[in-house]
Amino acid sequence: MFQKILIANRGEIAVRITRTLHEMGIAAVAVYSDVDRASLHVRMADEAERLGPAPSSESYLRIDRILDAAKKHGAEAIHPGYGFLSENADFAAACEEAGLVFIGPSAESIRALGSKTAARQRAVSAGTPVVPGTERGVSLDEARGFAAQHGYPILLKAVAGGGGKGMRRVDREQDLESALRDASSEAERAFRNPEVYVERLIERPRHIEIQILGDRHGNMVHLGERECSVQRRHQKVIEESPSPLVAQHPELREEMGAAAIRAARAAGYYNAGTVEFLVDQDRRFYFLEVNTRLQVEHPVTELVTGLDLVKLQVEIAAGAKLPFSQQDISWRGSAIECRVYAEDPYNNFLPFPGKITRLERPLGPGIRLDACVYEGWTVPMEYDPLLAKLVVWAGTRTDAVARMIRALNEYEVGGIRTNLGFFRQIFEDPAFRNGHLHTGFIDEFFARQRPAEPPQELAVVAALAAALASTERDPAAPGSSNHGMSPWVLAGRQELLR
């Protein structure tokens, strides 16, 4: 087994990987950019190395500097986390050439599956149903031609993409040009590849994905599904296992699991991976893509299977055989995850970086919090707005939802804005509680939602709190006139002047 592993990532996933390494008795080497010097992942690590300035192109995407850091610190393997270089085949190959073990699949598998278009072609030849699309990067004219043939709405997606970056829904011809330009420039910045392809859009699909795990000896299992239908701007915000749909139709788990393993085996896959499917209203599933890395939402699978996916990834990378076979896998209870973002749900979910002035964490039964934040830390504006993943487990989905609401009520982040309050509304929503999910859920939720009228007494309490707060001096107010005089003194003088 390895003695020391470098984590080529930041934020909550670097913290999460560090935790497992420490449980395994393996030293963790952190890397950081200038704005991340005081980040939790650096503070928790055993060793740390600076990569460069804040922009990820000068730090977390610099293969040369990461390899230098690994050599300097004597790491034997590199865990890429998710995002950044995790699905970059050149990085995986460069690690192996430098004598370092890349904790993930082979560079060949990443090439075969990591490119969405290449993966689609492979799935087509394996007989897996796919959504009609161009299967390669397109020009504006080609995108126009595809739309003319298949009709709007269409979906633009980054060839090298993931996580909704470089993705745009286009409903009308006149929006196509600017959408393609935006998607392409976003793809260039996120993945250093501006290519964008086009797909027909399936209305009201569910997003359900299968976690797979394979060793380097040809063994492969699936760990069941995660439903990630609750998305906004094509980015997942709530994930759960089991899927409410699969809970009603258990045969789907085996069918999709088998299809996922077939697709991965065809590419000689090993280590952890995720095969994503769209499921339409008639429960037909379509291969979407393979994520050749650990997923953000892996904790829900860990909670229902009792497995540590990072530990298994490390063991597989070290050459171990899978310690179980498919029939040993069992699923217990229900797990739900919320992605807590630094963003303003009352202003179109725009990012809201800044300093965290107060932090209260949810605790108690059935709570798991994967986070990278602490009180006094400034959330940088250069990276993803993901602050934390709040995950709950309970015996049933109904109990898990109740537990999540309880946990959300305990969770407070002050100084910046977050989507915590938005989650509370979602979990109170009857459609969510009944498991009627699809990827347009949030848009429809907003459309049908009538903001609940708060109880009159709460308005009184709120008014009192605002009145009290207004009597405190505003440190930010320029020329806050009263020269530090307490408003009570001021009020007293006014009374005397009567």
Binding site: L350, F352, P385, N409, L458, A462, A466, S481
Partner: protein, 165 residues
Amino acid sequence: MKLNLKVNGTPREIEILAPAPLCQFRVDGGSARSADIAIPGSGLYSILLDGRSYDVQVERTPQHFIVVINGHRFEIEVHDPRRWSGRSGQQGGADIETIAAPMPGKVVRVLVKAGDTVVAGQGVAVVEAMKMQNEMKASRAGRVMTVTVQEGATVTAGEVLATIA
């Protein structure tokens, strides 16, 4: 001390008769009530009122206070009639459109310069934060009066980028 409030747009009057921690107050001229106030953290109020416990978060913005209780959100403007340094009237004239940063971030592109004429929906500037770009557009046709930021500038939420007349 009497304060005029707007709670989610509804005018209310609150009179503080005695300060925290044993606060006496009156709302909209009603009878005096008592509340027990503790301040466990910055922007955090624990209020006991008629035997009930309320944990209240208060965020101060340039325009108002955002108060959150049990997931309910209130936007509250506070006007102290005795203070002349009122917070209103800071917007420009009625026919001047102010283009403001929608979020804290960095100005990655400025698409107009002072004196340019713009059409409705034309891009003015692009602000980026956390890998998300937001193009601020003119809501109507007009002439660019001022451009107050340069490419590469860091801005706060609500900071003015340009004005259009």
